[in-house]
Symmetry: C2
Subunit: 421 residues, 2 copies
């Protein structure tokens, strides 16, 4: 079954808000075996909404629309949908009650403009939005399904999970889909492609391979699709088994989406704890690791030492070192990583110090000069990185370098834990 | 001038990678006065690429395509573009040299598959990609401009800034566009809409208003467009002046994109320093604040105290408090925020402790129970938050609550610094 997605909102077209809804919906639909063919972002404009709605209904079985359901003036989706389906708006009692409950909880008074949000076209089925005041709507026309959802990401996600996906699976009798990610590190995409070419060509027809390069790693994604669940699982398992003899030395994880997940897998598998001391990454390492549930199993804590005072007082970097070598130096990162490892009493520790930019560079230490350190009970490894002058990218790449080096060291020092069964 | 954007990539349609390129390009184009009409995400599929390319050329003056230029098998954009424009591929010397330089820098050997990346259609102008091996391309046809860029976000951004925008501004003789953001807090979108309705209706025709609600705030965005730069600036300034008497009590900032930026503006304006102690937010507060350049002016550092040991040893929370009230309690957050403020010697401090979920909840303290604290030299404010069971959302909403409360307190305690001139 094919799906298309229409995200409506002028705020998306001016780029003020990053459109994450398309990706989230795509991920959800894909995981349930629906193919997303195309996604569209358009403005709060009745003519465009009509045009792309008609276009999408022609091209796919399912059309999911987000946005344009708020109470303010620039939101016109509902009216346009109503016209499109030749229906009329009425006050839906369930939607109204839901809005009343939400307003009561928040202690606000219900205004006429809010009450209007409970009006929906007669021809649709209400998808009750327990998390917000804009209702979801389910339309059927000529065997096609059109779904309208609020644009607020968590409301959209809630309705997708609670209402849309179960209904779609029931409505269309969908086959199975299995995804498998293999995470590869230390080899470029094109070299990897050369190396595994014969393996790729020999994959069964039910399996599709995608290269998903991300900073610091390449994700190989196998997608198997068919009616026989067991057979698909077996085919995936066989394909993975055959990959290890060819590229096993570069495989650092399976079924992970990004490096922080592999860090979590690696630390947990090794049964070791971690702490970190961040200067130029400013809390990003800790934040990325703790975004994942269960981080407390191995992650004890971190210190963001943005000022030199904090590097001294909390991490115990010596005034002498800071004065002699500067905050961005191998000596400082060494004391930071040892200091945090000792004070937070963990098996491993990582540290960063550098000039993220765009300001603060000197001739000797230009923007993008970054030292990272990884410490275990046996050794401290330091590495000098040279990046460009983009702050966000420097922070991102530093985090990825730290994660890569940490994974490498923990795997090397705990080889027994990482034998493939 | 209208533009459309086509993002190509199977990885986008399965939602494995969030498509940030559309938003970034939209933001860049908008800031230079180009209107983005629509954006499309499609797969690595020649037929679709042809179809949407033709579709977009009909609908807009500028078509920007990203993705599908990598060396691996699923990338077919270049071939399709070549056919579309009835051209043929040739090895471009500048592109080849660029690739050689990049491979030399990285210490890799150039393979035939990499060398192929230097082949471009004869009919296009090369946009040399100094940051990567996939070249950018500029096509012209029947007065329309088609631009093909690599999908890797930082390479795309680089080419947009260095090559595409200057060429577009020269090619089309564009008018001026001025954006102004007014940040409003403490009033819902619909109440705000009621309150400023007459002001909105009285805006000059050159100005368009958009409501951009984000967690914890509403951004009012004024966009003025026209040929006379001075007049636009004056019209925007007058509109803003008239807004203050109506809604000034809710305005916490101007020209900011999100709460962390307003925190930075607020702290800097007040001339005060900040530290933080994070448990359930796990470094996100520090990370969000330090993503912005210049954070070191007010942000001294933070402690992510994930384990109780770290809460005790680094922040000085008493064992007694943790044992009696638990880590998620008003007492603990109070000691965390006071502890970090004292130890990092800052004017203000913030702290969080809670159950982000999805696990770890109890009947008395279900997932989503979060305490936050804000400390100054005069007082410690604590607040209990009740959110749902989504980890990422709980972390996000906690950060926003902390930022909001901090802004409120700093504005209240330093009122003199926040008089409107």
């Amino acid at each position: 079954m094919n799906a298309t997605i229409i995200n409506i909102g002028d705020e998306l077209l001016i780029g003020q808000v990053t459109n994450t809804n398309a990706s989230v919906i795509s991920r959800m639909l894909t995981s349930k075996g629906f193919d997303v063919k195309e996604t569209f972002t358009i403005g709060d404009n009745a003519e465009e909404i009509r045009f792309y709605l008609a276009h999408c209904i022609q091209r796919s079985d399912i059309v999911i629309i987000t946005g344009g359901l708020g109470p303010t003036k620039d939101d016109i989706t509902k009216k346009t949908l109503c016209e499109f389906f030749g229906s009329e708006l009425y006050e839906n009692e369930t939607a109204l009650n839901n809005i009343k409950v939400i307003f009561e909880k928040r202690g606000y008074e219900l205004t006429p403009i809010n009450r209007q949000q409970s009006w929906i076209p007669r021809c649709c089925t209400l998808l009750n939005n327990l998390l917000g005041t804009a209702p979801g709507m389910w339309f059927e026309k000529d065997g096609k399904v059109v779904i309208s959802l609020p644009g607020v990401p968590f409301e959209m996600s809630y309705l997708m999970e609670a209402e849309v996906l179960p209904r779609l699976q029931e409505h269309f009798n969908t086959g199975y889909i299995i995804n498998k990610n293999i995470i590869v590190q230390g080899i470029g995409e094109s070299f990897l492609s050369d190396r595994i070419e014969s393996w790729e060509l020999a994959l069964p027809k039910s399996i599709r391979l995608a290269y998903l390069p991300q900073a610091g790693m390449v994700k190989l994604r196998l997608t198997a699709r068919g009616a026989d669940h067991n057979r698909l699982e077996q085919e995936i398992a066989e394909a993975v088994d055959k990959l290890y003899p060819i590229a096993g030395e570069y495989i650092v994880g399976e079924d992970a989406e990004a490096l922080p997940e592999i860090v979590a897998q690696t630390m947990t598998k090794a049964g070791k704890t971690l702490s970190c001391a961040e200067s130029c990454t400013g809390g990003s390492i800790a934040s990325k690791l703790t975004q994942l549930a269960g981080a407390s199993e191995y992650f004890m804590g971190s210190v963001t030492a943005y000022s030199n005072d904090v590097k001294e007082s909390i991490l115990g970097v010596s005034k002498q070192t800071l004065a002699t070598y500067g905050a961005v130096s191998e000596e400082t990162v060494r004391e930071m990583v040892s200091g945090v490892r000792e004070r937070l009493a963990t098996d491993y520790a990582v540290a960063t110090t550098g000039i993220a930019g765009p300001g603060g560079g000197t001739t000797q230490k230009p923007v993008g000069t970054i030292w990272i350190g990884i410490a275990s009970d046996r050794q401290v490894i330091t590495k000098l990185l040279h990046f460009g002058d983009r702050r966000a990218q420097n922070i991102e790449r530093t985090c990825n370098a730290v994660f890569s080096e940490l994974i490498k060291l923990v795997r090397a020092e705990n080889a027994d834990s990482f034998q493939r069964q």
